[in-house]
Structure formats: C-alpha cells, structure tokens
C-alpha cells in the first residue's frame, strides 16, 4: 500500500502542507511507514484546476491513501473516482501525520473539507506561499 503525505518539504521532519492541489511536496511511504519516494508537486503553479491535476498525478503514482490537511471538491472527486482514500486533519510534521494515521486519529473524508480555490489563499496553517489571489 502506498501512502502520500502532503508536506512543505522533503523528509519526515518537514512540516505538513494544509493544501492538497497546491502543496509543495508529497512524501510517499509504505504501510510500514518506510519512505518510498519524495516528490515535488508539478501542479503547484497551475493557473487553474491544480486540484484535478495533482489528483491525477497522485493517481498515476499508484497511491492508495492520501493524508492531507484539507481537500477541495474537484480533487476529492478525482481521487474518489480512483478509489483512493483521503484522510484529512494532519498537523505538525510528516512523521506526526504518519503516526496520526497509524493511531487512527484522522478523518476519512467523503465530502470536501474546503471550497475550491482554498490553496490560492495561502491555506490556513500551510503558510502564505501559495499564488497571489
């Protein structure tokens, strides 16, 4: 099983990114929590539809579970269509997010947790590094 965690940087010590479509990096781990891959998000600067494009990218990577801060409606629809499970509510570092998942502290979502364009506004705790709105 492949788990993708939204993060601001590469590695377990990086802070999680509250955004999905415009998050900086994904840390991919297996079900034992072993790191498989760190990838930067190619859709970070998309002019529109970043959520859809990022979801497509994650699906193409063969991911089964996404751990996110929040998720928008189009990204969720795309991930759901591929039977990718989305858990929201991560906080702290990538390592923290992983243990929150393993301890079953996250929420499995079927409805989007934020409205569209959330990531353009800097994304809550995710820092103000997103596109200017």
């Amino acid at each position: 099983m492949k788990i993708a965690i939204c993060s601001e940087g590469a590695g377990f010590d990086s802070a999680v990114d509250q955004r999905f479509g415009r998050c900086f990096h994904f840390v991919l781990v297996d079900s034992n929590g072993e790191k498989l891959e760190e990838i930067s998000n190619p859709s970070l600067g998309a002019s529109g539809g970043a959520g859809v494009q990022t979801a497509q990218f994650i699906a193409d990577k063969g991911v089964d579970v996404v751990l996110a801060g929040n998720i928008g409606p189009k990204a969720l629809a795309t991930l759901n269509a591929c039977n990718i499970k989305v858990y929201t509510g991560i906080s702290g570092t990538v390592a923290d997010a992983l243990s929150q998942y393993q301890q079953d502290k996250l929420t499995l979502v079927t409805n989007s947790t934020v409205s569209q364009h959330f990531g353009l506004r800097g994304g809550g705790g995710g820092g103000r590094r997103g596109g200017n709105f």
Partner: protein, 298 residues
C-alpha cells in the same frame, strides 16, 4: 462603424457616456447599443428597451464516449485548464474549468469525445423607442459564478449590424473581457477622471488600445476635481480630449433616478451631439492617416 466606450478604472462614467451618446444620436433607426459588460449589465436601466425572450449562450464542453475511450490520456495532456482527469478506467470532466476550445475533441485519437453545449448566460435583444430615437438594444447576462465572459461577449457582438452605428459599453479594466468587447472597433472613447488613480488606469487602457491598433479619444468626467495630469498625459500621447464633464447636480439627480440626462436637458443634449461631431472628425482624420500610410507604402 463601431464605437467602444471603455476605461481602465471602474466607475468613471462609461455607462453614463455611452447611453447619453446613444440617445443623442441624431439619425433615428441607425443605432445599435451593445452592453458588453456582461457581468453587470446596466445600460438598459437608462435606455429602457423592451426585450424579446432571452437566448441561452453556451460554450462547447467535452462529453466522453466511454465505449470508445482507451484512456490514453491525450485529452488531459491537451487541456491546459485541467478540465479533464483520465484515470485507469474512468475519465472525469470538470465543465466549469473548460474554456470550450475544443482541443480535446480535435486531438482524441479514438474520436471518443463529443462536444455538448453548456449554458454560461443569456443574450437579450430589444428595442428602445422614443420621440427622438429608435435603438436596437442588446446585452449579455453572464450567469453569476461563471468564470468566463468572452464567449458571451463575442456572441452578443456577433449581432452587430454593419449598416448601423454600434456603441459598445465595455466592462472596466484591460484584460480578456475588455479586449473581447473593444476589439474590431473603429474608435474607442476612454472615460476617465483627472486624478492619479484615473491617469494610472487610463494609461493601461491606452497601452491596450495601441496593441489592438484602435484610435482613441478621451472624455474627462468629474473634470473639475483633481489635477491637470490627464490633460498633460493626453497632450504628450497625442490623444484628443473630446469632452469635459464637470460635477453637475442635474446630471447626478437624473442618474440617481435611472434617467439619461440628454432626454431632459437641451444643454446636455447639445454637449453629447458635439461629441458625435468630434468623433466623426477624429475618425475621418484617422481614416485619412491610414489611407496616406497605404499610399506611402504603395
């Protein structure tokens, strides 16, 4: 002849100028008024046309024939707006992201994409008749929440009758909707106010018109406030200032009631008739310039 009324800055008086200009036009039955500010059309409040039933304006969006689709992903590669997601055994279409370019259907190797219309707003046509005018009136109304107005603006502009004089009331700004509204005009009136804010946005509008190769004239509204900055700028740029509109209680009171001042005041009617003369003068001299250029080039 197509005359656009535009401005960089919002709230400078585009609608006031365009509706009064339309209602002061002295050749009955020869005028079309086209409100291209489809996000907030409001010229009809002053012109008071009687509308026919609205027509829906649509853009083409993709519909996937899953029987033919091989999930090759060509369509999502083509789509720069990310309106398509191609998954293992599923294609998702997000119509609200689609700009209606048709690229996905054109490039689909399986011909598995049909284009179906999605309504983005309506066009309304009508006529406004008075003792001194008889105007063909058209406007578009974009559905609130829709992101793209240019397809609706283009649909409304397709109704322009080349045998008539058309006045286009453009949206404010200098981006896609404004370009869609003013392009192919013969002349553009830029309405501004003599303040640093007005000048800043006027300059942006002038630069846009230069790129579109449309001759311009300036109308300075609220001309008794601010500074000489706009006058100086127009001199420097060689753009004629066609009219000054000072603060005027009568104009403001009528505006507040949704009435056009030229229908109630001979003084204002004369002023707007004079703008028509100035427009034709500038237009003729631009025509001469173009002809001279062509002769010189030949």
């Amino acid at each position: 002849m197509i005359i656009a009324v535009a401005s960089g800055k919002g709230g400078t008086g585009k609608t006031t100028v365009s509706v009064n200009l339309a209602l002061a036009f002295n050749q009955k039955e020869k005028l079309q008024f086209i409100d291209c500010d489809v996000e907030e059309p409001n010229a009809h409040i002053f012109v008071k046309p009687v509308f026919d039933s609205p027509e829906t304006v649509s853009i083409p969006v993709p519909e996937i024939n899953e029987g033919k689709c091989t999930y090759c992903g060509r369509c999502k590669e083509i789509c720069v707006y990310n309106a398509l997601a191609v998954l293992k055994e599923n294609v998702l279409v997000f119509p609200e992201l689609c700009h209606g370019c048709g690229g996905c259907a054109y490039f689909c190797p399986q011909e598995a994409i049909a284009e179906v219309p999605r309504g983005i707003g309506v066009m309304e046509k009508g006529t406004a008749k008075g003792s001194a005018f008889d105007i063909d009136f058209l406007h578009g109304r974009l559905t609130p929440g829709e992101a793209m107005s240019p397809p609706l603006i283009n649909a409304v502009k397709n109704e322009i009758d080349s045998r008539k004089v058309a006045i286009i009331d453009a949206p404010p700004g200098t981006s896609c909707p404004v370009v869609a509204a003013v392009k192919e005009s013969d002349f553009c009136l830029l309405v501004t106010e003599p303040t640093p804010f007005g000048l800043n946005d006027l300059d942006l509008a002038v630069q846009m018109l230069k790129k579109l190769d449309i001759p311009a004239g300036v109308i300075i509204n609220r001309s008794d406030i601010g500074t000489n900055c706009v006058e100086d700028y127009c001199k420097q740029e060689g753009i004629p200032v066609l009219m000054h509109i000072p603060w005027d209680r009568e104009l403001a009171e009528l505006y507040a009631k949704g009435e056009a001042v030229v229908l109630h005041s001979a003084k204002w009617r004369d002023l707007f008739e004079k703008i028509w003369m100035r427009i034709f003068e500038v237009f003729d001299s631009e025509q001469l310039k173009t002809e001279k250029k062509e002769v010189d080039a030949g």
